[in-house]
Amino acid sequence: MMQAANTNADAGATTEFVTVFVGETMFGLAINRVHDVFIPAGVTPVPLSPPEIVGLLNLRGRVVTALCLRRRLGLPPAETEGNKMAIGLEQGGETFALVVDGVGEVLKLGADTHESVPINLDARWRDLALGVHRLDGRLLVILDVDALLAFGGERRGSVAA
């Protein structure tokens, strides 16, 4: 721990993150925003929808809008169609499913490993990331759930119509 001095100040303040994977990259989502982790099945595609949206699915009797984190991040489609996972998120009374390539463990992280978003990151990523945690051997990009869900809607609509 190189920045042990800092650690003392924030020793008690740890945050838990659910880790998810898109390709090889690991992302973290604040655990208090995650309602569910499930395997998305029976997704109904929605024609004319914004590209980020995979479709609608039935999650225990609720209609959930599924969006693809890969597309949201502007990444190319996966080469192999593996088993996808979905994270249930809520915003403004609506439920969304964030489709990812895989879900990892829950990490308890302190502020000591936290870094702000590197400025050389792609603009799209910069908007979506809250920061980066330095872990052993890899980095964890913390995603801003509200920013993730802020897309599409009317602006696109006017173009489509």
Binding site: G42, T44, P45, L48, L56, G61, T65, L67, G153, G157
Partner: protein, 908 residues
């Protein structure tokens, strides 16, 4: 705020609304004791409750109003001024109640002004009244304690008197509910009328006043009213509770559907029966819960009589409000949404629509204007009409304004039909009112009205006639929560189409009779002698791979006046679906109204027929008109016509009215036979002559040959064309410059110069005797006068009428027609267009009927764009033999034949 006060607020505002309405009724019908008693009772209840709750300000006001109403009951004539005074008192009461609701306490302030005025009014001619109730004060305990202004000695006495009269009887059973209908039926109206305010000692003055308030609270369920318990038939339920119940039932419906789906797949009969039972119970439960949400539309109208009354006096107009079908029920959610639009539209009608009395008289109308509100059920929708007999929309002003505001170009405006132009009033910021009044004219509103109605899946339509009035027709679904839907499959996915919009299903297949045909790539379907534009669902959704799909089902849908077909691959079944709103991320897609979960658990999207209709008309109008417009039915606009455009000779565009066309054919060119130098084909077991549409066309000898078939009775003719291009529906502006007899003239269609061909020229080429008419020999040479302002229609109808054996005299206006009738004594029958600039067809007939005997007895057939009930009525009163839709040739011929038959019979 405690429950008691909350109850009081809800109840009182309901009472006040009722009083509002009733007062206006009372003003018009001052002798109706029933109404007066009702008002009196409601105000009395409010006053009593206020006293009980310790709300002195409200109580004093209510009391003063009640006193004045008591005077009415005693025979004081209800003047407009006094009703206005009471109405403004009610407004003050409402304002205080609103404050009370917001703050929980009665606001400070003085109502001396109103109370003084009310007292003065009640004291006015009091002495003349036969039963001066307040002057006989029997000793009574003070029923209520409150602050009174000095000098109001007689109040308590009055109070006692009023309590004694109708009060106790009516109050006891009434406490928990608001509806006046529940007033104890035992109250004998005549008794009250006879001794209106008999100062008989009230048996128990205090309890009745307190009873309603106490009983209304859950804590004191009718403690002193033994009778009340047995009479209570309604309870107040929080709306949230109902909403929750509704959601639960929706979920239950879903679960049932899932179970049914499972049962369908398994053959285990043991649980089929209970499942069926469950299904029934669910259905009934659903219906029951839906019923709790239903409210009569009259609730949304309640404020309108007052609104109209206030407007009438403010604007100095005389306006009657007629309401029909107030009991028609609809979902309260829907009701909430349409409440304000309705009020707005009624205000608009009163302000813009109805003219002042002087203006109305000058226009030959009764001085009192009428605004009519009507509601009725129609299928799964409710139709609301708001009509006035005012001056109608000034379409030319709207046209000007539209150009001024740059909403549409001058050229576009000229192409538009009246119906399209009228729709401009739904544009934001669009008002042609000359002056902005306090009522309306600010150009806000109609766009909001339209948006509101559309958000609940409704449509709004305008019908306006200059000088005659305007009618708005609103169609809205009864409920938004559960709808019957047709589950269809298009491409890879299933979709739900609301049943409301579906007229029928047609199976299409290349091999069977019903097949999809294409005109310039646009698919159409022949459906009972009409062409139906088709859209493919996959195409609309951008999933089409460009391949032309020709098999599947056409869902024939109708939205407003627009009818179209949606081509889908498969149709499964009908299902009651629970409409779930679209996610906020997807709400912008106009083609979907929501989504639902089907019995098998899959999520499907609900197709919004309104959205599809808009897309259909947009693609139909692509590029030509930038504003929203609808494909109107041909009959709707008299200057608008549907034309078949084809290429004929040297790649020129030609067109013929589609109404004249029997069918379109593509024949194998090798089937063409030549007989005596004339081309013929065998067509439906007969020989049909072929005539090229232009000299430059050569009939092909190989491949396929496009034909436009015209037929009349037994005869048919094939017009040989190079290629069928399109069907367009446009307002025709024909320049009749053609010197060629085969052309009527030319017009600009879709931005292309197009020749309009004259069918009358071609028919004789096919059959020498066609123009003379095969039936001519049977007919005496009748002479017919054709009156139509449009040269196009005159030219179109003349050959048809000639073919039917008439000598035709055609004129373009009512004036000319009258002149022709005077000059030409041989005219036997008149065919006239009803809608003409200047003097209308009705005016013409009226003039004829008022003229000499010959003209008065002349049979008349009227052509009209739209056959409305009032038109039929008017036609009947003018002894018009028949009303025929403008494009209905065979109808016209049939009507003429009938007239002939009658004339012959009379002659014989």
């Amino acid at each position: 705020m405690d429950d008691l006060l909350r109850e009081f607020l809800t109840e009182s505002s309901e009472h006040l609304d009722t009083v509002d309405t009733e007062l206006v009724r009372f003003e018009q019908d001052p002798n109706n004791q029933q109404i007066l008693r009702n008002i009196f009772r409601l105000v009395h209840t409010i006053k009593g409750t206020c006293g009980f709750l310790g709300l002195p300000r409200l109580e004093a006001l209510a009391h003063a109003a009640e006193t004045l109403m008591g005077r009415f009951r005693d025979g004081l004539p209800a003047t407009a001024a006094s009703v206005t005074l009471i109405l403004s008192t009610l407004d003050r009461l409402k304002a205080i109640l609103a404050d009370l609701e917001a703050t929980g306490t009665e606001p400070a302030g003085s109502d001396e002004d109103l109370i003084g005025a009310l007292d003065k009014m009640s004291e006015g001619t009091v002495e003349a009244a036969p039963a001066p109730a307040p002057v006989a004060p029997p000793p009574l305990p003070d029923p209520v304690v409150r602050e009174l202004k000095p000098g109001e000695v007689s109040l308590d006495d009055l109070e006692a008197a009023f309590l004694a009269a109708p009060g106790p009887d009516e109050f006891a059973p009434e406490p928990v509910l608001a509806e006046p209908a529940f007033a104890k039926p035992a109250v004998a109206p005549p008794a009250v009328a006879e001794r209106p305010a008999a100062p008989a000692p009230a048996p128990e003055p205090a309890p009745p006043v307190a009873a309603p308030a106490k009983a209304a609270t859950p804590e004191a369920p009718a403690a002193e009213g033994e009778a009340a318990v047995s009479k209570v038939q309604t309870i107040r339920v929080n709306v949230d509770t109902l909403e929750h119940l509704m959601t639960m039932v929706s979920e239950l419906v879903l679960t049932r559907n899932q179970l049914l789906e499972i049962a369908r797949r398994h053959d285990d009969t043991s649980y089929k029966v209970p499942l069926q039972r469950l299904s029934h119970v669910t259905a009934e439960l659903q219906e029951g819960v839906m019923k709790t949400r239903m409210q009569p539309i009259g609730n949304a109208w309640q404020k309108l009589p007052r609104v109209v009354r206030d407007l009438s006096s403010e604007l100095g107009k005389q306006i009657d409000l007629v309401m029909q079908g107030a009991e028609t029920e609809l979902d309260r959610q829907v009701l909430e949404v349409i409440k304000d639009p309705l009020t707005h539209m009624v205000r608009n009608s009163a302000d813009h629509g109805i003219e002042g009395a002087a203006e109305r008289k000058a226009a030959g109308k009764p001085a009192r204007g009428t605004i009519r509100l009507a509601a009725y059920h129609e299928g799964g929708t409710i139709t609301i009409e708001i009509s006035d007999d005012g001056k109608g929309l000034d379409l030319s002003a709207i046209r000007r304004k539209a150009v001024e505001r740059g909403v549409a170009s001058q050229a576009d405006i000229e192409k538009m039909t009246d119906a399209q132009v009228a729709k401009f009033i739904f544009h934001a910021g669009f008002s042609t009112a000359k002056a902005v009044t306090s009522v309306s004219g600010r150009g806000v509103g109609m766009d909001v009205v339209k948006t509101n109605i559309e958000t609940i899946g409704g449509v709004i339509d305008i019908n306006t006639q200059l000088g005659r009035g305007t009618t708005f027709t609103i169609k809205i679904p009864l409920t938004l929560a559960i709808v019957a839907a047709l589950i269809v499959k298009a491409g890879e996915n299933r979709f739900a189409v609301p049943q409301v919009a579906v007229l029928e299903l047609v199976r299409v297949d290349k091999s069977t009779g019903q097949r999809v045909e294409r005109i310039n790539g646009s698919p159409v379907l022949r459906l009972r002698e009409r062409l139906l534009p088709i859209v493919t669902l996959t195409g609309l959704l951008g999933q089409s791979d460009g391949a032309e799909v020709d098999t599947g089902f056409v869902v024939v849908a109708q939205v407003g006046r627009q009818r179209f077909g949606i081509l889908v691959d498969e149709v499964f079944h009908t299902e009651e679906i629970v409409v779930k709103p679209m996610s906020s991320k997807l709400r912008h897609i106009p083609l979907f109204a929501g989504n639902t979960i089907l019995g098998d658990g899959a999520v499907v999207l609900i197709v919004d027929p309104n959205g599809v209709a808009r897309q259909v008309s947009q693609s139909a109008q692509a590029g030509s008109i930038p504003v929203e417009s609808e494909v109107e039915e041909t009959e709707a606009g008299d200057a608008k016509a549907t034309l078949l455009v084809f290429k004929g000779g040297n790649s020129t565009f030609k067109a013929v009215p589609l109404s004249l066309v029997t069918r379109l054919e593509e024949i194998d060119a090798s089937k063409v036979e030549w007989l005596g130098g004339r081309p013929l084909i065998q067509y439906r077991g007969r020989l049909m002559p072929l005539v090229p549409a232009d000299e430059a066309i050569t009939i092909r000898s190989e491949g396929t040959q496009a034909l436009v078939v015209f037929s009349d009775g037994e005869r048919a003719m094939g017009l040989v064309v190079d290629e069928i291009v399109d069907i367009v529906e446009e307002r025709l502006d024909i320049e009749i410059t053609a010197e060629r007899s085969d052309l009527i003239g030319s017009a600009v269609l879709r931005g292309r110069a197009t020749d309009i061909i004259n069918i009358a020229h071609f028919l004789p080429l096919a059959y020498d005797d066609w123009a003379r008419g095969p039936k001519k020999a049977e007919k005496r040479g009748s002479t017919l006068l054709l009156v139509d302002d449009s040269a196009f229609f005159r030219d179109m109808l003349t050959p048809v009428l000639k073919a039917a054996g008439y000598a035709v005299v055609s004129v373009e206006s009512a004036e000319q027609a009258l002149a022709a009738l005077q000059a030409n004594a041989r005219i036997d029958v008149v065919v006239t267009d009803l809608e003409m600039p200047g003097r209308s067809g009705f005016d013409l007939v009226a003039a004829m009927r008022g003229a000499d005997q010959r003209l008065a007895g002349l049979p008349v057939i009227a052509l009209t764009g739209s056959v409305g009930a009032d038109a039929v009525e008017r036609a009947r009163s003018l002894a018009i033999s028949d009303l025929v839709a403008k494009f209905d040739r065979s109808g016209l011929i049939a009507a003429l034949a009938e007239v002939d038959a009658v004339t012959l019979a009379q002659a014989a």
